[in-house]
């Protein structure tokens, strides 16, 4: 399924999610998808339909257990752009 919106989430919606948001925006542009909308919020906003792809840090993996694998990225290192790029590539095709 085409990805139109990516939502980066963390516990408070303004710290790590904002960093991942900036990195995601940079990487999707680099991968040739500037049309994808990227935003950040808290994990309580994760629900079907809120976005096509959710990105969270590994510490919050338990909170995305019910999100199917093809709709989420769980990062080991949230500051690592290479890991993010690799995982985004797999989803964007």
């Amino acid at each position: 399924m085409a990805i139109h919106k990516i939502l980066c989430c963390c516990g408070s919606g303004l710290g790590s999610s904002l960093i991942v948001h900036m990195n995601t925006e940079e990487v999707v542009k680099k991968l040739g998808h500037p049309e994808i909308e990227v935003d950040h919020s808290t994990i309580s906003d994760i629900h079907e339909g809120a976005a096509d792809l959710f990105v969270v840090g590994g510490d919050l993996a338990d909170f995305v257990n019910n999100v199917p694998d093809d709709k989420k990225i769980v990062l080991k290192n949230i500051l690592d752009k290479n890991e993010l790029e690799e995982k985004l590539k797999a989803h964007l095709g």
């Binding site: 516990g11 303004l14 710290g15 994990i43």
Partner: protein, 151 residues
């Protein structure tokens, strides 16, 4: 105009301590300068501790670095940072001591974006965290932050 590190970090909000009793104590120590400066209400401390108990220590961004923060409505007044180096480290996760505690007060979810961009590029390199953790004085810690080049 872009926000600079010196808009967000004041020298008096940078400190070095030897150790903290436990992680909850370290949150009190690391947030206190922002309480004293009127940037957050005292309940911001409880907000951070409560969030950590509910969600786990998701604010430990990379080994040795915690970005302590709560939601704006949990007691933030004005955006600002504080930096606390704990020489002996604090275990938010067992067996993973963290020496650099950066406390963030944010009024909303993104007006502090310029400074987050600087912090993200600074902490993407573990060598920079090591420099902060082992800096000799609080003045040196402060310089490392305000002199880090904005991308």
């Amino acid at each position: 105009m872009a926000l600079t590190m010196s808009d967000m970090l004041k020298r008096e909000n940078v400190q070095i301590v030897d150790s903290c009793k436990d992680w909850e104590d370290s949150v009190h120590v690391a947030v206190q300068p922002l309480v004293d400066g009127g940037y957050v209400k005292p309940e911001y401390i409880d907000g951070i501790i409560q969030n950590a108990k509910e969600l786990g220590p998701y604010f430990v961004l990379v080994p040795d670095l915690a970005l302590l923060h709560a939601r704006p409505e949990q007691g933030a007044i004005k955006k600002q940072l504080a930096v606390t180096v704990v020489r002996k480290g604090v275990e938010f996760k067992k067996g993973e001591p963290c020496r650099v505690l950066v406390t963030l007060a944010a009024e909303d979810s993104d007006s502090h974006i310029d400074v987050m961009r600087i912090l993200a590029s600074m902490f993407a390199d573990p060598a920079n965290i090591e420099k902060v953790a082992t800096a000799e004085t609080a003045d040196d810690v402060y310089s490392l932050f305000v002199n880090f080049p904005a991308a």
